[in-house]
Amino acid sequence: MKRMTTLILTGLLLLAPALQAAEQPAAAQEAVRDEEVIKRLAVMGKYLRSLKVMAVQADTTTEDVMDNGQKLQFTGSVEYLVQIPDRLRLEVKNDRHYRVYTYDGKALTQFSPGLGYYATMEMREPVGRMVLQVKEKYDLELPLADLFLWGTDKADTTGIKEAVFIGLEQVDDHESEHFAFREDGIDWQIWIRPGDQPLPDRLVITTTDDPTQPSYNANLKWNLSPQLKEADFSFVPPKGAMKIDIVAVDSAVKQ
């Protein structure tokens, strides 16, 4: 009898971790959405929208997924020159991709220096609306476009399911506050500079609805008093450059 009791007790002891493990997922699903963190995002957005000119340089890491599921990593850079309301220059560079964009308030031109092809998209919008329109109309995604959406009604925070403050961390020569967010299909992290210039120092975006969970990483460097010239925003086709079409996605679908 005594032996039987021991057996049962041992059995229970062995079971205990399993039971505990079974309970864990339920506990993990409890979402934390810290309103203080959401507020920090709003403060950053408001500050970004107060800037009239900016030069942003970002070192980026992009993960691409091959059809066999293997994840590849590419490093690159993104360089923005922006003059509010409607001037923008953007250079996107990595080992497989080099594009120069110029926006003069009348048209956005996409140019590939490697191929010599350029396409122009007529557009008369402030920068924040322009980045949305080219996405909608041409399926053209400008990197870090969020920089122009935060602080506007387009940066809806209701989709944020979880928001937490992770801690103070070193980014380049200063400390920055690390925040983590979860939404449907993406997890993202942002490092925001404390003090009276709440700029994003770093951004990491992880796609969670892809089994391989590729991430995009950008380390940003800011210059808030860049020397800008009108020529930065206008496109003059270099010798040998050729104009091609860009597919309008919405009209293509309607036909």
């Binding site: 506990a27 993990a28 934390v32 203080e36 992009t62 993960e63 691409d64 997924v65 091959m66 059809d67 996107v92 991709h97 594009r99 996409q110 590939s112 191929l115 092809y117 396409a119 980045v131 949305l132 996405k135 041409y138 053209l140 995604e141 990197p143 476009a145 969020d146 959406l149 387009k154 809806d156 989709g159 944020i160 937490v164 403050f165 992770i166 801690g167 506050e177 939404e183 449907d184 299909g185 993406i186 993202w188 404390p194 003090g195 975006i205 796609t207 969670t208 609805d209 892809d210 089994p211 391989t212 969970q213 590729p214 995009y216 091609i244 079409d245 860009i246 597919v247 679908v253 036909q255």
Partner: protein
Amino acid sequence: MQTAIHHFQKSRLGAAALAVLFLVAVFLPAVTFARNVNVNRNVNVNRNVSHRNVNVNRNVNVNRNVHVNTRRHVDVDVHHGYHHDYHPIATAAAVTATVAVTAAVVGSIVSTVPPSCSSVQVGTVVYQQCGSTWYQPQYYGSSVQYIVVNPPR
């Protein structure tokens, strides 16, 4: 301003350790139970470009799995994701524009042309001529793709 922030940080320091534990607990299951999603941006984009005398049908003879350089994400970038109407930030919906083709059927699309092709301009239109096959380059988003077209001359 400074004081408020420091106060905010202090009150968060204890929470940070918890948050890290919490994140670990949350992320692990998410990784384990990865969902299967087929994201395909190029399907169902049919165009009839009559002014070019080309009937473009993007779904002809398109085989996505031929080349190693087929990438699901061509330039993975960021974006909106904060609004349910938008595609999630960046990478999420970014899909290949790299489409391999089994034959040079008019209307089919490729992401690269053979190295032996030459650039030819007819009128205002730019082509890549590769032997008897003619391609017309166009941008789709930030990617260049080439449509097989009828010889312009």
